[in-house]
């Protein structure tokens, strides 16, 4: 499905004008912030190419994507991350690739984005709370990094660890979750071509509240599986204990594939509100990516492995 033939172009040539308009609107409030955000940010990301992923979707606005976030490291309300994430320092940033692999390496974030060609993919994102968005991500397939690291035969799972630093992430002063935030995927899920390591949205560097400088995007799973502000990617033999699963195992499973038929114990998952829309829409199995990912779970009891 990915159109690899599209030529490389610079971000400003492709991002829809309306998006920039929205962004301008959003930043108008603070001129200083606008200057600060636009100058170094555009320079930091190498050129990237557009792909066919999600071309038929209409993305949410920059404002929606950057002001309505779940990122408990900065507070538990949706507005908190946009307000509080200023204390995060996404540079310098090191991502340690380690564990059961032949070539562990501590990657500087900028080396990483240079080593792996960036592409834009428009994905749907479904939150476990029953809302969804469409987001134009900028990133590269996690599989590329995994191949480079050469996992050993013992590597069955991949664990993702978010930064733990109460100075940068004030929400970590409260034990809402057992910090640091840990997420995990089975190795085949992690290697799946849909699985992305994202460093930007809308052709810009990832805003802090969206998980700067690097985050996971697994579009067929509920949003919380897509760990943000990652510092460690670790190959492990045993299924990792993930943050939400540890907090409430009966509510948040390890797999957490989007599934309209398996309700959250306290609310229905049959429908979702696409942010910006008035009517709710039906939630699709695997968030509509079933064609590509259903075979990963062939024969599994999805009610048991929810």
């Amino acid at each position: 499905m990915a159109a690899d033939s599209t030529p490389r172009i610079v971000p400003t040539e492709i991002t829809p004008e309306s998006v920039y308009e929205k962004r301008r609107e959003f930043l108008k409030g603070s001129l200083a912030l606008a200057l600060f955000a636009s100058l170094p940010v555009q320079a930091a990301l190498p050129a990237w190419r557009k792909t066919a992923w999600g071309r038929d979707e209409s993305p949410n606005t920059w404002e929606e994507v950057t002001t309505y976030n779940n990122f408990y490291e900065f507070g538990t309300s949706k507005e908190d991350p946009a307000k509080n994430a200023g204390s995060l320092r996404p540079r310098p940033w090191t991502v340690s690739v380690e564990g059961e692999c032949l070539k562990p390496r501590a990657w500087d974030i900028d080396a990483l984005t240079k080593a792996f060609p960036l592409e834009e993919r428009i994905y749907r994102m479904r939150c476990v709370e029953g809302w969804s968005m469409v987001i134009p991500w900028l990133g590269f397939p996690l599989a590329e990094l995994i191949k480079q690291a050469q996992p050993t035969g013992k590597a069955k799972y991949v664990e993702f660890v978010t930064l733990k630093d109460t100075k940068q992430m004030p929400g970590q002063r409260w034990p809402v979750l057992d910090w640091p935030y840990v997420e995990g995927l089975r190795l085949d899920e992690a290697m799946h071509p849909l699985t992305l390591l994202s460093v930007g949205i809308y052709g810009k560097e990832l805003p802090k509240q969206n998980g700067a400088p690097i985050r996971l995007v697994v579009p067929w799973k509920y949003g919380f599986k897509s760990a943000k502000s990652i510092v460690t990617i670790r190959f492990v033999e045993k299924q990792p204990t993930t943050a939400w699963n540890a907090a409430a195992a009966n509510e948040y499973g390890f797999y957490s594939n989007v599934n309209p038929e398996v309700d959250h114990p306290r609310w229905s998952q049959a429908r979702e509100r696409r942010i910006g829309e008035f009517f709710k829409r039906k939630t699709e199995m695997y968030n509509g990516y079933g064609d590509q990912v259903a075979q990963l779970y062939a024969g599994m009891d999805l009610k048991k492995y929810f």
Binding site: N60, E63, E64, T67, Y68, Y72, T76, K78, E79, E129, W131, W174, V176, L177, A247, A248, D263, R266, W267, S268, A270, R273, I275, G276, F278, F279, K280
Partner: protein, 239 residues
């Protein structure tokens, strides 16, 4: 002439010493009630203002539903605070506003329920019934609301007169309604229970006071009853 003046001053002082005379003590009860009525509409007006000024955030429907829920609960707690206020200030005038405040709780509850039925479920009655039956948080919210219905219906002078003592008995339903409302809140949050716990604490305080008063009233009665107890006990020992 002089002594008379001081005498008047002294009488005034005595009358007002317990509470500093606030500006509204000079307004008539009727004006006060109208003022309070308008103040009670501010949370609703705020939603309209935010709605027209693009201020409801990325998920306006959620914002409105939650705001209305929060105000329903707040009005319930404010209503429950009237009796303690009356007792602590020794001023019966608080009671004048209690029924109106309770009706506002019902009013916001009705709007809250409407946003759920309409904007959340779009009147899909099958799904709504399933929700009420399957989701504890909806079950609790719905029960709380239904308990408020008879109270709202009887919040008029005619009902007070007609029901006599039963009116007060009936209106004790506000206690379970408030408890269920707090449980409703507690059950719907994902993980961070700070807010519902704050509301639960306020409610516990308000209900705790009533238990305490009830106990205080009971104790003298119990003491009187105790006089019989030794006699009973000694009789027991005798076989």
């Amino acid at each position: 002439m002089r002594p008379v003046e001081t005498g008047v001053m002294a009488a005034k002082d005595m009358a007002f010493r317990p509470v500093a005379a606030p500006f509204w003590s000079r307004l008539s009860p009727r004006t006060l009630k109208v003022l309070l009525f308008v103040v009670c509409l501010v949370p609703l007006a705020r939603l309209f203002v935010l709605g027209f000024s693009h201020g409801l955030g990325a998920n306006p429907i959620e914002f409105v539903t939650r705001s209305l829920g929060t105000w329903t609960l707040s009005f319930l707690l404010i209503t429950l605070a009237i009796t303690p206020l009356r007792r602590f200030t020794g001023q019966g005038q608080w009671l004048r506003y209690r029924r109106m405040l309770g009706l506002f709780a019902f009013f916001y509850g009705m709007l809250h329920l409407t946003t759920y039925l309409w904007l959340d479920q779009f009147f899909d009655w099958g799904d709504i019934l399933k929700d009420i039956y399957k989701r504890p948080f909806i079950t609790f919210g719905m029960t709380a609301f239904l308990l408020l219905v008879p109270l709202a219906v009887t919040s008029n002078d005619r009902s007070v007169r007609a029901l006599k003592r039963n009116w007060a008995r009936l209106h004790k339903l506000v206690y379970p309604a408030a408890i269920l409302a707090v449980l409703h809140y507690y059950w719907l949050v994902k993980l961070d229970v700070t807010q519902p716990v704050i509301y639960a604490s306020v409610l516990s305080l308000l209900l705790g006071l009533r238990v305490w008063w009830w106990w205080q009233k009971r104790v003298p009665a119990a003491k009187a009853g105790n006089a019989v107890a030794p006699a009973l006990a000694s009789r027991g020992r005798q076989g």
